[in-house]
Symmetry: C2
Subunit: 313 residues, 2 copies
């Protein structure tokens, strides 16, 4: 019997979780609904970092040390671009460029982001469904605390190496965005919905902010399990911990529980946070304590197994 | 004293001539007005083959065997693109891609093709002026004789390897195009104007077809020298000889003389065509017979010296 699992996904953390999930669930039953707020147009090319991180990771092609881009990548085009003083702070490898060239060409030909994403995912031999949350343009923009500058997320994340405090995050265009094909339907029909251990404020929030998506997840609260991206008060990768504090939340599993308690009925936290389990449960979430650090494919599979079981699948 | 020389240029033949010219005239006195009808948008990138061939050749960076693209080039992005079934018939090297990324980004930022071209030319350390004939979009389109298909020039030239007969050539958009900054002015103020040994129908004609340019050259007929791209009835490179015949002209120096006799007062032809010199002169052109095959930089310089002298500079 088929038991479709939907994962609300950002980039690296979600991709790791999905490598585990694909070991315990048939790929055709897996749907990832992926953030596109990080997308950026550079050099006229449409770059979708989270979609590509998910695809490259699941294809076993991601660079394991960097955590983004392709293994064995070369950087010839970017090096040549520096001759012109071109934009090189957002590093695009030569093989990675091919993905952006293809995506851009297909979109110029009239294909939607959903369609191109599906083509790219199939070209990498993957059978899971990877859905951009929307085919419309949603742009995560960050207000920097020190200067008040309103910048594109990638400028904050890559150019400033997320090393500056933020005052606000917004998702430009989101009010007019429509969920992509299959997004709401897959949530409604899923046996379980997983909120991946991604940054809640800039990876998960822009997915939920697309009109209709938050409500669709909330309507399935009894079948929704969130995995905390915060372990021992800190993010494993990226600025989630600092952003949580800067934007008035708590960088802890409790902070995560407060963000997700209307959407999920279960929160999975790491063993180092076991002491907070009771407090999480007081917020109305069942709390499962396990090893959430996906150091290996085996650990990722074990976490996925725990999550799927927690959803009653 | 400064004696500015303007060269009406296509790609390879013009670029070789310019390598000669730069040996005999200060670079700051040289202006190339370059065809943009071959430009193509691929993968969302703006590709300007003739502009780049001129720049790369003069910078000593062109691949000498292929005659296009950069020496020592790698093809990683194109190879990766084949995974997706992307458009790979128009081969873009990794380093060459940087030029198109830069051009596209700058245009997105609001820079004109003229401005970007100038930036690219300076980045390669060149002091001559390289002017796209227009900043507007002019697209050379070719009607194939066998199928009646109306195709972009690059589809004919690269995809079909110019191996199919043509019935018609047109320059879409040219009626609304305006000459780029400095184009008409440089022709008006030049000590000599050279029509380079480029394809007259698809390299020189789309330059002349931009409203105002043909008239500007014709007004300077007494100072305009054309170099025949046809030697012994054949083109040294490319399909000019076949196209001339297919489109009702003669593939000979006489055919060239008839095309240019209203624009130029001198036609420079190769020694192998010496027997036709009298017939050329009967068309009202002074005919200079010399070695026009630019096998080496020295030969190119000798040709340029002859051309400049013929213009009375």
């Amino acid at each position: 019997m088929s038991a479709p699992i939907v994962t609300i996904a950002g980039g690296v953390g979600a991709a790791r979780f999905l490598t585990g999930l694909l070991q315990v669930v048939p790929a055709r039953d897996c749907t990832a609904i992926v953030n596109v707020g990080d997308d950026v147009e550079l050099h006229g090319l449409w770059v979708s970092p989270d979609l590509d991180t998910v695809t490259y990771t699941l294809a076993g092609a991601i660079d394991p040390e960097r955590g983004w881009g392709l293994a064995g990548e070369t950087w010839t085009a970017m090096e040549a671009l520096s001759r012109y003083g071109g934009i090189t702070w957002f590093n695009l490898g030569d093989r990675d460029l091919a993905t952006h060239l293809y995506r851009t060409q297909r979109r110029r030909e009239g294909a939607s982001l959903s369609e191109v994403t599906s083509e790219i995912v199939r070209a990498w031999g993957l059978a899971l469904h990877v859905l951009p949350v929307t085919d419309d343009r949603v742009e995560t923009r960050v207000t920097l605390a020190d200067t008040g500058d309103d910048v594109n997320f990638q400028e904050y994340f890559v150019k400033h190496r997320h090393g500056v405090p933020v005052r606000d995050v917004r998702f430009a265009g989101v009010a007019d965005a429509r969920p992509g094909p299959g997004v709401v339907e897959s949530i409604a029909g899923a046996a379980a919905i997983v909120i991946a251990p991604s940054n809640p404020l800039v990876s998960i929030a822009p997915v939920l902010a697309v009109p209709g998506v938050r409500d669709a997840v909330a309507a399935r609260r009894d079948h929704t399990v969130a995995v905390s991206p915060i372990v021992g008060g800190a993010a494993l990768k990226g600025p989630a911990d600092r952003m949580l504090v800067e934007l008035g939340h708590e960088s802890s599993v409790l902070g995560i529980a407060r963000l997700y308690c209307d959407l999920a009925s279960v929160l999975v936290i790491d063993g180092v946070d076991a002491e907070h389990a009771a407090a999480v449960e007081q917020l109305g979430l069942r709390c499962i304590v396990t090893d959430t650090i996906m150091k290996s494919p085996e650990r990722a599979a074990a976490l996925a197994r725990t999550v799927v079981a927690a959803a009653g699948v």
